[in-house]
Subunit: 419 residues, 2 copies
């Protein structure tokens, strides 16, 4: 099955926003075994919309369109769909009920402008929208099944997951129950991840492999449609096991968790609390960890001690160490990690100090150098790592993920030793 | 002048990456007065590439294509361009010199696979690439001028800025020198910014207005082509002044600086140093500030005291205050801000404590509530703000930007009082 994804809106064509809808929808379609052959973005005008719809119609089985279903005059997608199909707009009872239900839930009368949203192309199938005012709809044009979804991210995602995905699963000739494994990896470049995973698709018929890169982490997805044939679910399991073996040493999560979620799981499992001392990462480690809901259960402190005086005052790093070894040194990060632990009473302390760039490097300590310290009841260890990159943002991210990965491994090993 | 932007790569169609190239290129084109009428993304296969090129050719004056110029077998854009034009691939001396120069600079012999990159469609104009291996090129197809650029972000941006933008400026019939003002705003929703700016384009002929939203900040761009007619540069200046007046009270920067850059500028101008105490923002404030190169000159510390015990131990917040008023209170953020200043010796301390969500709210302190404290030699002030959002990430960002905005205003006022 082939699909095209069409996003609409002048703000996309003017570069005012990055079009993340096309990527998100494509990932869902891809997991359903649908081949996405094109993305198109088009402005909010009737001529362009109709031209794009008529070009796409008949070219593939499925098209997913987002945006332009709102109540205002410049929301023209519904009208363009009707004119492309050569049918009038008619009041749709399901759409009218959807709009009425939305406003009733908010104890508000339906505004006149929103009545427009109850009018759909004749012959369209309405998809009620419980999370917003714009009902979605499905309409066939020259053999292509078009789904028209609102552009509001929350509504688009809800309707895609709840309505479009199940409908497409139903359209698949072989039927399907998606079985999927998501493996989060850190520490291998994307090209090497690809080389290691090469051959899995051909070795396990019916099993599909995909990637999603979110620097510096790469997610490997391995999925299949369980009803394709009797053995495919087993093959998907075997393929996942094979992929995990090939990625051994670099797997952060076998459940698609983020690095911070994996750290949270490890710490909660071990019943341990954490304090962080950051220099070059500047608060990024704390920010990543506190993105995890419930992090207050185990995250006590991050002391972002950018100035040496703050390293001394807050963490008790000795002036002698800073003088003799410098801020970017194993000795300093060791004392920082110990200090974070001591001042907060946490079970584990981790610390970073390095040179993110673009300037500040020396021959001995080039841009990209980071020292990471980990302190526990059992002692303090320090690690040196040198990133080949010179970009400040990328280095901050690499340093933070490297520290979290060392922490995660440390907690897991401790777990095993105690268990 | 009308343009289409074409991005290539299976990773885009599979949703493995978000296509930010199309947005970035469109923004540049838009600033040059070029109307972008379509974005297209297409896979790395010869049939699709040729089909898209032939559809776009003749439809607009300009097309910018990215990706597929690399040395490997699956880089097919150059071949597809040649076949679409009906011309052979021939070794281009400029391209060959560009590839040779790149490897010579690295003291490496040119790998055999990279020799392929010196072969361009006959009749194409090579654009040498000093920052990578893939030379770019320009080729006319049915009256449309196609620019083919590498997909590597750094190379694409460099060649777009250095070669494509000047070439398009030269193509504009009226000639042009771009004059541009970028106004960073915070505190108004996008719709209200749009309402306030409405009418400026029509009131100042030849002046263009654009937006770029990067939650929770909105950038307003006001630009014109100075050689369009004698008065247009003056009208662009007048339009910018008018926009600044209409946005008064919400302007972070008149030079398109980010919030963190504006804070840096204000602190450097006042010669003051900063310490931060973060609770709900979890390190985000420190992370934003340390994204600014040179921040070590004025940023001393961020104490991310998530646990109450850390607020007491690191910042000296009193147990009585925490007990009587709670962590999310004016009293607590006041003591946090004072503590950050005291422990680090900074001139200014700022502090946040709030409830980012999704849970943890009460009737009295709902999700979205934040208290912000600012402490200076002159005293300590506290502010309460309630965001209507329930999303943890969005609230962390709003809280952090709100705190930085209050800080920025405070430093500027102090500046005026002392100046």
């Amino acid at each position: 099955m082939r699909a095209m994804v069409i996003t609409t809106g002048e703000e996309i064509l003017k570069g005012e926003v990055v079009d993340s809808h096309a990527s998100w929808i494509s990932e869902r379609l891809c997991e359903l075994g649908v081949e996405v052959v094109r993305h198109l973005s088009v402005g909010d005008n009737l001529v362009s919309l109709k031209e794009v719809f008529s070009r796409v119609a008949g070219e593939c089985e499925v098209a997913v369109v987002t945006g332009g279903l709102g109540p205002t005059e410049d929301d023209l997608t519904t009208r363009a769909a009707a004119e492309s199909a050569g049918v009038p707009l008619v009041e749709d009872p399901v759409a009218a009920a959807s709009v009425a239900a939305y406003f009733k839930g908010r104890h508000v009368a339906v505004p006149a402008s929103n009545l427009k949203q109850a009018r759909l192309p004749k012959g369209a199938t309405c998809i009620p929208n419980p999370v917003g005012t714009a009902p979605a709809f499905c309409l066939e044009l020259s053999g292509t099944r078009f789904w028209f979804l609102p552009g509001v991210p929350r509504e688009m995602r809800f309707l895609m997951n709840e309505s479009v995905v199940p409908a497409i699963v139903g359209l698949q000739p072989r039927g399907s129950r998606l079985v999927k494994t998501a493996i989060t990896t850190f520490g291998l470049p994307e090209s090497v991840v690809g080389e290691r995973i090469a051959g899995i698709e051909s070795g396990f018929p019916g099993v599909h492999v995909g990637y999603r890169a979110s620097f510096p982490v790469i997610e490997v997805k391995i999925w299949a449609f369980a009803q394709e044939d009797a053995g495919v679910a087993k093959r998907q399991e075997a393929a996942s096991a094979e992929a995990l073996k090939r990625l051994e040493g670099y797997v952060v999560s076998e459940a698609g968790d983020s690095m911070a979620e994996a750290v949270a799981t490890a710490l909660c499992g071990a019943g341990q609390s954490l304090a962080v001392a950051e220099s070059c990462t500047g608060g990024l480690i704390g920010n990543l960890l506190t993105d995890v809901p419930g992090s207050s259960d185990w995250f006590l402190l991050s002391a972002v001690t950018y100035a040496n005086s703050a390293k001394e005052a807050v963490l008790g790093v000795s002036a002698e160490t800073l003088e003799a070894c410098g801020a970017v040194s194993g000795e300093t990060v060791g004392e920082m990690a110990q200090g974070a632990r001591r001042v907060s009473g946490a079970d584990i302390g981790i610390a970073t100090s390095g040179i993110a760039g673009p300037t500040g490097g020396t021959d001995e300590k080039p841009v990209g150098t980071v020292w990471i310290g980990i302190s526990t009841e059992g002692g303090t260890e320090t690690h040196r790592f040198v990133s080949p990159l010179k970009d400040r943002h990328q280095n901050k991210r690499i340093f933070a993920f490297k520290a979290l990965d060392l922490l995660r491994r440390k907690v897991k090993v401790g777990d095993r030793e105690n268990g």
